[in-house]
């Protein structure tokens, strides 16, 4: 198919949005039409994407193909042309987003069918896809930013989808504020680039920047740091990650689509997109890698002690995004994008699987009118008997995320860690980043297995009568899961490392080569070879296995109490400390202290106290109090208004006399 048909991929979801939106307003009960239109447009868009991909497969373009749609604003110094860019990178993203997006849309048909806002839900979901595709395909920063803002808006709408609950609306608000901070960074970066280069087109930036700007200079460093602030907001990195776990308040397919597979990876995509700039700014790259590594381990420790199945996955997403940034920060842009792709597969699978579990739990509780928490893994246990398909698929995804070969996550994660280690030869600080990444890998394997064990193994804790109602999800939901399961297993094939016995080797890397070559010339990827390489691989596999085994054993070592009977969370400090020093210290010398730290210090104090309190609420509070001062001055007394007027007048008059 001719790549100039690219606009169809955006137009199709937009038509879906219009149809579903109209139905939501006019005829919300027409669920059958919505169920066909919603996923249908996405499948069609995916088909177009595949067609274009197939057309370019044989002869990939050297230069990005830019298709101007129309000159949105075009005069003097303020041009914004809406143009779409097709190149190897945007095609990869396009395939992943439309492909995974289609599967999640299909899943949603089953998951949301009972919801009265079915049509509205699909309208939002389609609209989200429109903006996500604009983000991916935009040929310049402003166009990308339109998509960037748009996905934020849809995310905000979808997090608060069940707006009747206050917590959900609050979560939407939090996501909103944090993303504003990030957007500010992105905007400032855009202005710095516009000042220094006079263009915001990606293609022109890539050619102009290396000749115009000094490598490692202040301009490019500042621009990339602000750009990364934007990425950190959108992709939930320290210190702006706080919104993502709360965003799980939305429906589960939303979590899978937006908060795992697509939108949150936009930051990684943007860094890869502007790789030339980051390659020119070693300091910024190190910051990216460092923040990524810290986020990876930080979120992983918090994940150790969560009981809400979606919260575990949320912190896991934050942690995995940290990996991607560690990759792109180590100049391994291919590895970052590779992990983005495999993560989209297995994390979407995990979220949809958890959706299937919650669906079952919800039905069980609904049947008996119980008000227990359907998302608390302490209320689950032994579910593999009731949900066998979901269990097997989620287990595959867990192995993939833990990094067990030959599952997809192993290859991508290993490549990232190897690149970080390789850069250590030049900048020793990267050894530390590598160590953090490796430690995070251990924790990842541990908490994922803990979650799986508490959910699927052991005794069932749902309740005697409720148990009768647990059942596997319908085919419309398990179907997408199976496809994702296959992808999670074999996804690594797109970029197999050289040491792997069978070809194709470095498929993704060779495919992306034309896009990433300018960056690679400035800052080459350094992957260790020979003995070091094999030692690293061995260590990675060992870490994954140890983590999984430890996770399984410590979790099932003693019976788990259901959430209702579990000790109260409020007085936990004393309780936890007692258990921590007397009972569990000798069970595990490494993991348990980390649990305590993660729970008490990191989650309670850092996450909720410092970042929420001082950061998000604090800055909003400071602005509010400044504004309050303004309202106090607005006393209603005219005399005071005149005095303020005259202060200004005296200032202005005296400013011209000197």
């Amino acid at each position: 198919m001719n790549p100039s048909w690219i606009w169809l991929t955006i137009a199709l979801p937009f038509i879906g949005f219009l149809v579903n939106g109209a139905l939501a307003l006019a005829k919300p009960e027409a669920k059958r039409v919505v169920a066909i239109v919603g996923p249908g447009v996405l499948l069609a868009a995916f088909a177009v994407a595949v067609g274009i991909f197939a057309g370019l497969w044989g002869n990939p373009p050297d230069q990005p193909l830019v298709f101007p749609l129309w000159a949105w604003i075009g005069a003097g110094g303020l041009e914004i042309n809406l143009a779409l860019q097709v190149d190897q990178l945007s095609l990869v993203m396009l395939l992943v987003v439309t492909g995974v997006g289609s599967l999640i849309h299909i899943f949603s048909v089953g998951y949301m069918v009972a919801d009265p806002g079915f049509a509205r839900f699909f309208a939002y979901l389609n609209l989200f896809m429109v903006f996500m595709l604009i983000l991916i395909l935009g040929s310049s920063l402003p166009v990308l930013f339109v998509g960037w803002e748009g996905v934020g808006l849809c995310s905000y709408l979808l997090i608060g989808f069940w707006y009747q609950e206050k917590a959900n609306a609050d979560a939407g608000k939090k996501a909103f504020i944090v993303n504003r901070i990030g957007d500010f960074g992105a905007l400032v970066a855009m202005f710095i680039l516009f000042w220094s280069l006079g263009t915001l087109e990606f293609a022109e930036i890539a050619t102009l920047a290396p000749t115009t700007l000094a490598v490692g200079g202040a301009t490019v460093t500042a621009a990339t740091l602000f750009l990364f602030l934007g990425c950190a907001g959108k992709s939930a990195q320290i210190p702006l990650y706080v919104w993502l776990p709360d965003a799980m308040a939305g429906p589960t397919p939303v979590s899978a689509l937006i908060h795992a597979a697509t939108m949150v990876t936009a930051g990684v995509y943007l860094v890869a997109r502007t790789s030339v700039l980051f390659a020119m700014a070693p300091l910024s790259s190190a910051v990216v890698a460092g923040v990524g590594a810290l986020t990876a381990i930080f979120a992983a420790t918090i994940g150790l002690r969560q009981y809400d199945i979606k919260k575990v996955l949320a912190y896991s997403t934050v942690s995995q995004l940290g990996y991607m940034f560690l990759g792109v920060g180590s100049a391994a842009y291919t590895a970052g994008v590779f992990h983005l792709v495999t993560h989209a597969f297995f994390k979407a699978l995990l979220f949809l699987g958890s959706g299937s579990v919650i669906h079952a739990m919800h039905h069980a509780y609904h049947a008996t009118h119980s008000h227990d928490d359907a998302q608390d893994i302490r209320n689950m246990g032994g579910l593999k008997r009731y949900l066998p398909t979901t269990f097997i698929l989620m287990l595959l995804a867990t192995l993939a995320i833990a990094g067990i070969p030959p599952f997809s996550g192993f290859f991508s994660k290993d490549e990232i860690l190897a690149s970080a280690f390789g850069r250590g030869a030049e900048h020793p600080i990267y050894y530390l980043f590598w160590a953090l990444g490796a430690a995070a890998a251990l924790l990842t394997a541990f908490y994922m297995m803990r979650m799986m064990a508490m959910t699927f193994w052991g005794e069932n804790r749902t309740g005697a009568t409720e148990r009768e109602h647990l059942h596997e999800a319908p085919m419309v939901m398990t179907g997408p899961l199976i496809v994702l399961g296959v992808l999670s297993v074999i996804g690594g094939v797109i970029n197999l490392p050289a040491f792997w016995p069978t070809p194709p080797h470095h498929g993704l890397e060779r495919w992306l080569e034309p896009v990433l070559a300018p960056a690679a010339r400035l800052m080459p990827v350094q992957i260790p070879h020979g003995a070091t390489e094999y030692a690293l691989i061995g260590a990675a596999i060992l870490i994954a296995v140890v983590g999984l085994v430890a996770g399984y054993r410590t979790t099932l070592a003693k019976p788990i109490t259901a959430a209702q009977q579990a000790p109260e969370e409020v007085g936990f400090a004393k309780v936890l400390f007692h258990k921590y020093y007397i009972d569990e210290l000798y069970h595990s010398l490494i993991v348990r202290p980390l649990v305590g730290i993660s729970r008490f210090v990191l989650w309670r104090f850092v996450d909720q106290g410092v970042i929420d309190g001082a950061g998000v609420n604090g800055s909003a509070g400071l602005m509010k109090s400044l504004g309050w001062l303004g309202t106090r001055l607005q006393s209603g007394q005219l005399g005071f208004y005149v005095i303020v007027f005259l202060v200004g007048a005296v200032w202005l008059l005296h400013s011209v006399i000197r």
């Binding site: 005095i643 005259l646 005296v650 008059l653």
Partner: protein, 186 residues
């Protein structure tokens, strides 16, 4: 002699103005303002603007201020009020700010007719097509001394015809507005 008269009138104007703003009772306050206006009318004569001086007395002191006094009487406000004059630190702030304004405006104290004429009559301006523009040149005709009313009326009805007509809209708007607000019921 002229200067002596000027400074006498200036002192009277300043003194009246000060009394106007410190008087407790609104009626004397208004009368002191009238006094300032009269002093200014005298200065206008010194500045060779006899017609304006006459208008000052007729329109300002005669009509506008009478309207003020009329309203004060109508509302029965002809007595001192406790809360009218401010006290305390706000007085200091007010005086400082007023002094700040005055200090800035004093920067033009050294202006003289000669210095202005030298500047405006700069060759670049004089030789430019500006000379043809209304109000660009200085009126130095003998007419100004023999027939001051004509010398105001001519620019007013020729060059400034548009603004003059605009004042008719302004007065109409004021009349309509005042009537609307003062009507007993809408």
């Amino acid at each position: 002699m002229t200067e002596f008269v000027f400074y006498t009138l200036a002192a009277a104007a300043v003194l009246s103005a000060l009394l106007c703003i410190v008087q407790k009772n609104p009626v004397p306050s208004a009368l002191w303002l009238v006094s300032t206006m009269f002093a200014l009318a005298g200065i206008y004569v010194l500045l060779n603007a006899q017609f304006i001086a006459a208008m000052q007395v007729l329109v300002y002191a005669g009509a506008v201020m009478v309207l003020f006094l009329f309203v004060i009487m109508l509302l029965n406000l002809g007595h001192a009020s406790e809360t009218d004059r401010k006290r305390g630190p706000v007085v200091l702030v007010a005086v400082l700010l007023a002094a700040g304004i005055a200090a800035a405006l004093f920067a033009v104290r050294d202006t003289s007719v000669a210095s202005l004429a030298a500047r405006v009559g700069a060759p670049e301006v004089a030789s430019s097509p500006l000379a043809a523009l209304p109000g660009a040149g200085r009126v130095q005709s003998a007419e100004a001394f023999t027939n001051p009313i004509a010398s105001i009326a001519r620019p007013m009805f020729e060059t400034y015809l548009v603004p003059f007509e605009l004042t008719s809209v302004l007065l109409l708007a004021a009349a309509v507005g005042a009537v609307v607000l003062a009507k007993r019921k809408l």
